[in-house]
């Protein structure tokens, strides 16, 4: 966890990565709280009936996890904009890796642009995106 200031950030900096085991139960729990409790997000049989390889995580859950990575990295940062593209279904019951990097600093309004993504063990980027994050300045 960090509460770094805008001045402490450099272009090219890594956002503190998160590696986690995405369990089926966590996906079901998210689906329940997000009113998305439908077979594709809750059980393998139901998901296969829809032509999927097995149950998947909702795209917005991946987006939420990437937003969490930013807030874990800097608890005083505020996300102004976040956009994600769901390239491949995110399959639970395995390790996933949340990653990000600072691509640009905007001195005028103390915001930073970030690339963010979620990848599997083979480095395949299942979800990619960008975010604009406001970070408090020291001065």
């Amino acid at each position: 966890m960090s509460t770094g200031y805008f001045e402490d950030i450099e272009e090219g900096d890594e956002i503190t990565p998160i590696d986690l085991f995405l369990s089926k139960d966590q996906v079901r729990r998210y689906a329940r709280t997000a009113h998305m409790y439908v077979p594709r997000f809750t059980d393998d049989e139901g998901a296969r009936a829809e032509g999927l390889p097995g149950m998947i995580a909702p795209g917005v859950m991946s987006m939420g996890l990437l937003a969490r990575m930013i807030s874990d990295w800097n608890q005083t940062a505020m996300i102004k904009r976040i956009g994600t593209t769901f390239r491949s279904p995110v399959l639970p019951d395995r390790d996933i890796h949340l990653r990000g990097a600072i691509t640009q600093k905007n001195e005028a309004d103390h915001t930073v642009e970030c690339d963010i993504w979620l990848e599997n063990d083979d480095g395949e980027r299942w979800v990619i995106g960008t975010a604009t994050v406001s970070v408090p300045a020291q001065s």
Binding site: M1, L20, Q26, R29, Y30, R32, T33, A34, H35, M36, P58, G59, V60, M61, M63, G64, L65, A67, R68, S71, D72, Q75, T76, M78, I79, K80, R81, I82, G83, T84, T85, F86, G129
Partner: protein, 147 residues
């Protein structure tokens, strides 16, 4: 070939949904389901001393709001199968417990892209979120892909 559809549907509000007040429990459960550790989203007492003077919802909380109508009636179908292509979120004021949120839905854009596997159609549904004070909370663009 240019996409043919009635362009007057673009930008027209086709749904307005008002939600019951957001509860503290709902925010805490959403935060917990994502594994949030930031006290702004997880700890009422600590958040009270923070920049918002109280608990707020994580940024993507607004994506769980479901409009009564997902798309307008008579929306043409451009493909056989639909996929969730992605989301773009712009965030303004945070969501707090007790907020009564309203979702205004429009079709923002419809466009075609041609790739290796043929044509894909993108329908962008724009949901604007306001709170009970009329403040803009968020704009959510939902890209639906059809092929």
């Amino acid at each position: 070939m240019a996409l043919e559809f009635d362009r007057s549907i673009l930008g027209q509000v086709f749904d307005e949904t008002v939600f019951p007040p957001v509860t503290k429990e709902e925010i805490l459960e959403f935060s917990s389901a994502l594994g949030e550790t930031n006290p702004l989203y997880t700890d009422e007492a600590a958040a009270a001393k923070g920049p918002y003077g109280g608990l707020v919802a994580p940024p993507t909380f607004v994506t769980k709001l479901r409009a009564k109508k997902f798309t307008p009636e008579h929306l043409p179908r451009f493909g056989k199968i639909g996929f969730d292509g992605g989301r773009d979120l712009e965030l303004y004021v945070p969501v707090r417990p007790g907020d009564e949120l309203t979702l205004l839905s429009t079709i923002h854009e419809i466009y075609e892209k041609t790739g290796r596997t043929g044509s894909m159609y993108f329908i962008v549904i724009r949901n604007e979120v306001k709170n009970q004070k009329g403040e803009k909370v968020a704009v959510i663009d939902h890209r639906i892909m059809q092929r």
